[in-house]
Symmetry: none
Subunit: 196 residues, 4 copies
Amino acid sequence: MSPRTKQVNEQLKQKRRNQIILTALENFAHRGYHRTSINDIAKAAGISKGLIYNYFESKEDLLINVLKFVLLQAVDTIFKSIDKKSKTLTPLEMMAYGIGRFFDVMQKEADLWKLSISLAMQVADIPNIHQVLVQMFDMVYLQIEQLLKVNEVPDASVKARLIAAQLDGIALHYFVMGNNYDLETIKRVFINEITS
Amino acid sequence: MSPRTKQVNEQLKQKRRNQIILTALENFAHRGYHRTSINDIAKAAGISKGLIYNYFESKEDLLINVLKFVLLQAVDTIFKSIDKKSKTLTPLEMMAYGIGRFFDVMQKEADLWKLSISLAMQVADIPNIHQVLVQMFDMVYLQIEQLLKVNEVPDASVKARLIAAQLDGIALHYFVMGNNYDLETIKRVFINEITS
Amino acid sequence: MSPRTKQVNEQLKQKRRNQIILTALENFAHRGYHRTSINDIAKAAGISKGLIYNYFESKEDLLINVLKFVLLQAVDTIFKSIDKKSKTLTPLEMMAYGIGRFFDVMQKEADLWKLSISLAMQVADIPNIHQVLVQMFDMVYLQIEQLLKVNEVPDASVKARLIAAQLDGIALHYFVMGNNYDLETIKRVFINEITS
Amino acid sequence: MSPRTKQVNEQLKQKRRNQIILTALENFAHRGYHRTSINDIAKAAGISKGLIYNYFESKEDLLINVLKFVLLQAVDTIFKSIDKKSKTLTPLEMMAYGIGRFFDVMQKEADLWKLSISLAMQVADIPNIHQVLVQMFDMVYLQIEQLLKVNEVPDASVKARLIAAQLDGIALHYFVMGNNYDLETIKRVFINEITS
DNA sequence: AATGAATGAGGCTTCATTCAT
DNA sequence: TATGAATGAAGCCTCATTCAT
C-alpha cells in the first residue's frame, strides 16, 4: 500500500503550514520578530523545532510567508468588503465605510499591524519583506485612488497616498498612546475631513 | 580630591556618557537595535566593552537613554527653530514652516525616525521606552495645537493629533517606498491642505 | 506467493540495494561522507529516505557496504584486466601494463580513491571499514607479489608492499597538487624504475 | 591602573591560542575533524566554547591554524634536524638519515600525519587548507630535491616527488595495516633502494 | 576609571532515524 | 514494500554580561 493519498497528504501539509504561520504571527506580533525564537513557535504550535524547517527554509523565510499570507490577505479582505457594499452606498458613503473598516482592523488586528510597521522600519536588509510591503502599499494606494476618482477628487494619486499614510500614522499613534488616544473622535473628524 | 577635581570628573563622565549615547544611536539607527552588539558600539566609540557597563546597566538601559537623549532633544530643536522664526512670519506661514521642518528631519534623520517608530511598535514590554515616546508625542501634540490655535483653527486638539499622525504616516510610507515616493509633491499638497 | 515470486522479489531487492549503493557512492565520493545526507542520497536515487533504512541499518552501515561493494570490485577488475592481457605480454610488459592500469583508475575514479584514503585515515573507530581496507590491501599485495615473482624479483613480498604504497602515495600527491603534478612524467619514471 | 600590561597580555593570549590549537589537534587527530565538536575541544581544554571564538573565527579557521601551526612546523623540524647533521655525514648518509627521520615521525606523530592525509582528501572545498598542504608538499619536494642533487641523482625533481609520495604511501599503508605492517623491513629496503 | 578575556545561555539550523499510514 | 512527516539531539556560533587586573 502506498502511503496516504497524495491529495490527503497535500491537505495535511497545507494545514500544518497554516498552523505554523498563524502561530508564528501570534508570537512575532506579540513579542517582536527578534525576541521570538523558533523554539517558542514550535512549543506554541505543539510541534518540534525541526518540523518548522520542513516547511520553511529559515526563520526569515517563515517571517516573509507570515506577511505574505496574512498581510496581503488582510488588505484584500478590507477592499473586498468595501466592494460588496458598493451597490448600496453613494460614493461618499463608500469612502466613509472604507475608512471605517480600516479603523476596525486597527483595533482588531493591532498586533499584525504593529508587526508590519515594526518590520517595515527594520527591513532595509531583508529585501523580500520589503517587497511584500511595497506590494501591499501599492495595492492600498490603488484602491483608495479608485474610490477617490469615483468621488471626482482631483489629485487622486497624491491624495490616496496621503490618506493611506494618515491611516498608518493614526494607527501608529494609537498603538503608542493606547487608551489616551480618543480613536473615536479622531475617526469621526478624519472621515468628516475627507468626505467634505 | 578637591571639589574642583570632582567637578572636572563629573564633566568628563558626562562627556563619556554622551559619547557612548551618540555612538550607540548611530549604530542602533543604522543597523537596528538587535543587530548591533555592545561590542560594535564599544569599538565604534573607541572604548572597551566593560566601560559601557560603568555608565549603563544593560543594553536595554542604553537604548532607553539614547531615546531620552536624542528624541526629546530632536523634537525640541524643531519647535525652537519655529519659535525663532515666529516674529517674522504670519501664523499661516509658521504652520507651513513648521511642517517643512519636519519634512527636513524626515530626510536628514531618517535612521533615527525609523528606529523610533520601530521601537514604538515593539515596546509593550519596555515600559521606560514607552514612557519616553508618550512624553514626546504629548510634546508634539501640544506644540502643534498651539500653532493651530494661533490660526484659530477649531478642534485644535484633535487636529493636532491628526497632523502629528499624518507626519509620522508620511514618514513611514516614505521610508518603505523610498524613491518611488514623491515626497516633494506630498509635502506641497499636505501643506496646502493645512494652510487653506 | 509461489517460489517464483520469491525469486523475482529477491532480484528486485538486489537491484534496489545496488541502486542505493551506487548512488551513495557517487554522493560520498563527490561531497564526502559527512557532507552527504541520507536525504541527498534518497533524492538522487529517486526513492524515499525511509526505504534506505529497509536495506541498511544506518548511514554508517551504508558506507561500509558501499566500500565492500565498490572497492573490492574495483581492485578485482584491475587485476582481471591484467590477467586477460597476460597471454600476449612478457612478464615485464605485464608489470608495466598493470601499473598503467592503476594510473588510469587514479584519474578516472579519483573520487572513489580519495574517499577510500580519507576513510582509511579516520577509521580507528569503524572496525568494519577497517576490515574491508585490510582485505583490499592484502589482495593488492598478493597480486603484485605474484607479478613480481613471475619476474623473479627478490624480496617480492616487501617490494610488493612498497609498490602498492608508492601507488597510493602518488595518488595522494596527485589529488592534492592537481594540475601542478606532472602525472605522465611521474608514471613514466616510476614504470621505468620498476621494470629495469 | 590600566589593566594588565599589553606585553603580558599578549603573552597570555599566545599561550591560550597555542593551548587551543594543541587541544584541537589532539581531538581532530584522534576522532577526525567532523566527529570533533567545538564543545569537545573546549571541554578538553578546560575552557568555554565561546572563548574559542575569541581566538578563531570558526571551526574551519581553527583547523587551518592547527595545520599551519603544526604541520609546517613539523616538516620544518625534520629538515632542520637533517641540516644539523649535514656536516658529519656523507651525502648518501644524509639521505638515509633524512628518510629515517620521516619514519620516526610516522610513528611518533601518527595522529597528525593521519589527520593531514585525511584532510587532504576531503578538502576540495576548503581552499585555505588546500593551500597549506600545497605549501607543505612544495617544501618537502624542494628539500628532497636538494638532497638528491647533492648526491648527483639525475631527474632530481621527479625523483623527489616519487620519494615524497612513497613516504606518504608507506605511512598510509602503515596506518591501515598497523602491526601487520613490518615497518622496519620496509624502511630498510626503501633506504637501500634509494641509496644504491 | 578602564580593559578585554572569559563565560554560558540561548539562537538557528541540520540530519540520522522512526513510525503511522 | 514504500513514503515522508515528524522528532530531537547535537552542532556551530553570537553576544550580553562579569570580573580579575
